[in-house]
Symmetry: C2
Subunit: 261 residues, 2 copies
């Protein structure tokens, strides 16, 4: 199994603090050492860093921990291989373009007997169940909506059905973002927190690191962090229900997006 | 205008030496400071690094110069914006998936009145003529060959026609790779060199750096480097003819691939 980390904000924010704790699980405080990756949206562009080395040993992970890339939507993944070899093409997140936008996807779990017909424009490059699920999701989305990006409520309603269908094949904790919204589906384990004014100090559980968010934010900032296992010891994380899909926009759960689901 | 750098090898090789000279042109020895990018194939996977900062000022470019990522196919680009803003989504190289493989593309030049109908699966995310040309090329390639990757000679014949058509709209120096072959088309300026046994010492023109390739290679290694302007002062680079498309495979010009063109 793997672990997932996502961030969705109302203002471009760096993920140095959360990624520092998360990356430590990639081979030191936990066993997820079969590669890792992180994707940052910046405007409509995406920076994707993937590495098949353990995150704790990777010079690129070291760079991410030191270089504060600011983004409104980030998805990261540390891998413990269940299906597919430890190669670069099997590292999450995966990126594809649809409707003139990049879509970023990462998955934690294991899908059994999941071999959908992929006869649309999206084909897996590697051999994981995860990339197969991503290609299937995009193919289905494109067939459902045609050639135009739908409104967020429609997209959410569609993704609720599509993720439930895929989750019928096994464990499907996943994150998907198009740079505007971050969708998170929970099969078994996912937690989130919304940090906003008044900000306090947070303490990582995996490293001896604390940060006083009041010192590095403005009162208007709002940041949602979504992760497999809570990253801090002194904050209150909300656990997802199994089968739940949440949509994060501007650093909070978008309730109106889900209403039509 | 921009500059292009490509490398195609018969064994995974690092590009630290060539990239060090090339990146210096990204704001120091030359004016290409509106972003840069580099894509490395590793097996079927791709590592893409893009940055809208000048290459000389970018911490990510610094990492590339120090971290020897080994690859058989690399494409890099430094940008001086002619069309499209200086944003991440406008940085080359661009990556798309087709037929279950990643395709990497970078362009130097300026296309006028180039506004093809893009009604297939590939749409530009940014607003450059270059990304438009890439999407058009993939759309055309997919329509021509259907759902299966063609043999290299067929693909080369197709690309000769398609690149000539696009070059009818302006300057179209470009590099394209699917991880096996590297295609380079010259409208105005492109040079290449094949380094093989017996290896000698090369001296960069943009930095006070030399390398004795005999010390870092085996007699079987062969490396083709393709670049807008020669990178070294003491080697003999071959200039492309205007309108020429060359295919590089295993570190040399593939003459059999071009025969059927």
């Amino acid at each position: 199994m793997c672990q997932l980390l996502g961030m969705n904000c109302n203002t471009p924010t760096d993920i140095v603090f959360s990624f520092t704790g998360f990356a430590t699980r990639g081979g030191r405080t936990d066993e997820h050492k079969d590669g890792w990756g992180i994707a940052f949206f910046e405007g409509n562009g995406v920076r994707l860093f993937v590495d098949h080395q353990a995150a704790v040993a990777s010079p690129i992970a070291e760079l991410i921990k030191r270089y504060p890339i600011k983004s409104k939507n980030v998805i990261a993944h540390i891998r413990k291989a269940t299906q597919g070899q430890v190669t670069l093409e099997n590292c999450h997140p995966f990126v594809r373009e649809c409707w003139g936008r990049y879509w970023v996807f990462a998955h934690n779990g294991d899908l059994k007997n999941f071999d959908p017909v992929l006869d649309g424009p999206y084909k897996p490059v590697g051999n994981t169940d995860s990339e197969r699920a991503f290609c299937y999701l995009l193919q289905k989305m494109r067939r459902h909506f045609g050639e135009v990006l739908p409104a967020l409520a429609e997209l959410t309603a569609f993704l609720k059905q599509a993720t439930a269908e895929i989750a019928g094949h096994g464990t499907f904790n996943m994150m998907l973002s198009n740079g505007e919204a971050l969708f998170a589906h929970c099969s078994t384990k996912l937690h989130y927190i919304v940090r906003q004014y008044p900000f306090t100090t947070a303490k990582l559980s995996d490293e001896e690191v604390s940060v006083d968010f009041a010192e590095v934010t403005t009162p208007k900032d709002r940041v949602a962090v979504i992760v497999t296992e809570p990253l801090t010891t002194n904050e209150s994380w909300t656990q997802f229900q199994p089968g739940e899909l949440k949509v994060f926009v501007d650093g909070e759960v978008c309730t109106s997006c889900s209403a039509s689901g």
